[in-house]
């Protein structure tokens, strides 16, 4: 049972893909749009989990890496009319290069300095777009992945097309990330995370391993950025505010930073909270002020409660409890 191998797992992803496909046909357009947003967050949050949970590095600047991916995608698409798939690959590659540079800097910096640098990146980088006309300034550039192929039928909407692309990309990237984490690299990261000196003694090049983690994480974030700009149709600095980087961290914490398999929880929560808040506000009929602030309050409260009471995430919590139960039964 422990040796459930890559191939079987692949089957699991294919099955989930099929379920998503069926779902996409059954729900209304708003849900499809939200589904696409969830898929985008799944990709983005998994990049944080990889970096923070597995390699132990902090980034407040993943919004900026997403922006790199998004701008790379849109420029290649608009200037060179690259096919959609290639567009996303380019986004991944260029964001990964950015991540490698950032990772090289990160390897020199300790905790708070790294947080500071990445925070500054999250604020500074997107506004670079205002400096170069090719980046479209504050208003941004429109990103068009084209209409769905006519063979999919009349009723096949644009959003369903986005959903398909985003969900497929999410499944593929999750599968890849899960496999990377199980590989030698993943083990090295975890070794370096828990004890750098010990890892170095056992022959792991810790700083190279950290840079690699940053690079891969950035590539995944770049994909998320390209997907995000596809669903909103526009690439602009305002699509990548500081709050985006913060939300990703929030999502990662809600998912449990050290467990990739919880990633859905964070993504769904981030997308669902505004709606839940809206429903709660209408149901109990609170003041208008509270209504506007409710989503923010809910996210913050949830975040604080999670850090305090389920610090390693619901999945890890569940696992520990199971392990404890098993141990008790053994005795």
């Amino acid at each position: 049972m422990d040796k459930l191998k890559g191939a079987n797992k692949l089957g699991l992803y294919v099955v989930s893909g099929f379920i998503l496909f069926l779902l996409g046909n059954r729900v209304d357009e708003l849900r499809v749009y939200q589904g696409a947003s969830i898929a985008v967050f799944v990709v983005a949050i998994s990049s944080i989990i990889l970096l923070t949970g597995y390699s132990g590095q902090v980034s407040l600047g993943h919004g900026a890496l997403m922006a790199i991916g998004a701008y790379s995608a849109v420029i290649s698409r608009n200037s060179f009319h690259t096919p959609v798939i290639l567009t996303f690959v380019i986004a991944v590659l260029i964001a990964a290069i950015g991540g490698a540079l950032l990772g090289a800097a990160a390897a020199r910096l300790s905790g708070p300095y790294l947080a500071g640098t990445t925070l500054a990146l999250a604020i500074g980088l997107p506004s670079l777009a205002n400096q170069f006309s090719i980046l479209g300034g504050e208003q941004g550039i429109f990103f068009d992945v084209g209409f769905p192929p006519p063979s999919l039928g009349e009723g096949f909407t644009q959003y369903k097309w986005f959903f398909w692309i985003a969900a497929l990309a999410a499944l593929i990237s999750m599968w890849l990330v899960a496999n990377i984490l199980r590989s030698r690299f993943g083990r090295n990261w975890r070794a370096g995370r828990s004890n750098e000196t010990a890892a170095a003694l056992s022959g792991i090049n810790v700083s190279r391993s950290k840079i690699l983690a940053f690079t891969i994480s950035a590539g995944v974030a770049g994909l998320a950025g390209a997907l995000l700009s596809m669903t909103i149709g526009i690439v602009s600095p305002s699509a990548f505010p500081l709050t985006l980087s913060f939300s990703l961290l929030t999502g990662a914490v809600l998912s449990g930073v050290s467990t990739l398999s919880g990633v859905m929880i964070g993504a769904v929560t981030l997308v669902a909270i505004p709606e839940i808040a809206d429903a709660v506000a209408t149901r109990i009929g609170v003041s208008e002020r509270l209504t506007t602030n409710l989503p923010g309050l809910m996210v913050s409260t949830l975040l604080i409660l999670t850090v305090l009471f389920v610090p390693n995430g619901p999945v890890e919590q569940h696992r520990t409890r199971q392990a404890r139960k098993a141990a008790r039964e053994k005795h």
Partner: protein, 302 residues
């Protein structure tokens, strides 16, 4: 010449306020090894306390101490009920590296949300104690007024008081000892938990002063979404990092460097570089000195 002088004056005034904010961040960092992203939110809340006092007493000189005491109390409360629990519950595992960051970010959101719920999103006003009409030289009027002068003086006085407190008093010795080695401090009879709370309170009060002066030096109006407070968050943090996080003098230098360089960039290069300039300054400085201008080489733990 007029332009150059104005650039310097604008930079120094802004930098002085950033210094105060950076000081608050340094104080918290030294006492609990936490980067407090909620500091600007706490400063905002303190400024609202100041605003309430202003409404009742119509005097800035009552509002300022009210804001400081309020800020100190809020900070102490947060340290007592929140940070202690956090340290206890999330100091191990992969979360340990991010838990304080996440938690204070969550706190920032919570504070801002509560403020917006309580006071609403509309602008409210503070009035400075002296005029903001600039001094004139010849036929030109500078971007430097009695209010700005007062701001600088307040910052200088406050920094001097803090320095004296830290260097010359037993409380200061306890604060420093607890920051550098909580265990030795404890064995020497310092009530480290209390000292940590005290460190947070001092930070809360400094942040309150920064918030009050940041507001009156703008046009006096502020709201939970004010750019003034986003600036405090970002610039205070960057100034603290530039300064090396460990010393008050570092915070002051960090703030002034940031204020001046940003002012020059905006004046002589482009106003739209507003958000990139601090980032570039930070990158350049950290590239040369990864531990900040006045930082300790290896980051201490514990």
């Amino acid at each position: 010449m007029f332009q150059l002088l104005n650039t310097i004056l604008i930079g120094i005034t802004a930098g002085a306020i950033y210094s105060l904010m950076a000081t608050a961040i340094v104080l918290v960092w030294r006492s609990t090894r936490v980067i407090n992203f909620a500091q600007a939110g706490m400063a905002l809340l303190s400024t609202y306390f100041g605003y309430e006092a202003m409404v009742h007493f119509n005097s800035f000189w009552i509002a300022l101490p009210v804001a400081m005491v309020g800020g100190a109390a809020v900070a102490a409360l947060i340290e007592l009920v929140f940070m202690r629990l956090l340290v206890k519950r999330s100091s191990t595992g992969p979360i340990a590296a991010v838990a304080p960051i996440i938690a204070t970010l969550g706190l920032l959101g919570l504070i801002k949300g509560l403020i917006s719920t309580f006071w609403g999103g509309a602008d409210v006003r503070l009035v400075g104690p002296v005029t903001n009409i600039g001094y004139s030289i010849g036929d030109k009027t500078l971007a430097f007024s009695p209010l700005k002068l007062l701001t600088l003086c307040t910052v200088v006085v406050l920094m001097l008081l803090l320095t004296v407190l830290f260097q010359k008093s037993n409380i200061g010795l306890s604060l420093r000892a607890s920051a550098y080695s909580p265990e030795i401090a404890r064995l020497s009879g310092v009530k480290v938990d209390f000292v940590r709370t005290l460190g947070w309170s001092l930070a809360g009060a400094s942040g309150a002063v920064a918030g009050m002066f940041q507001t009156v030096n703008g046009n006096g109006a502020f709201s939970p979404e004010s750019i003034e407070f986003s600036l405090l968050l970002i610039s205070g943090f960057i100034a603290a990092i530039i300064g090396g996080l460990e010393s008050l003098i570092g915070a002051v230098i960090g703030g002034l460097v940031l204020g001046l360089v940003v002012s020059f960039v905006l004046m002589y290069i482009s106003s739209s570089l507003f958000f990139i300039a601090p980032f570039l300054i930070l990158l350049i400085i950290l590239f040369i000195r990864p531990q900040g201008i006045i930082g300790v080489k290896a980051a201490r733990r514990g």
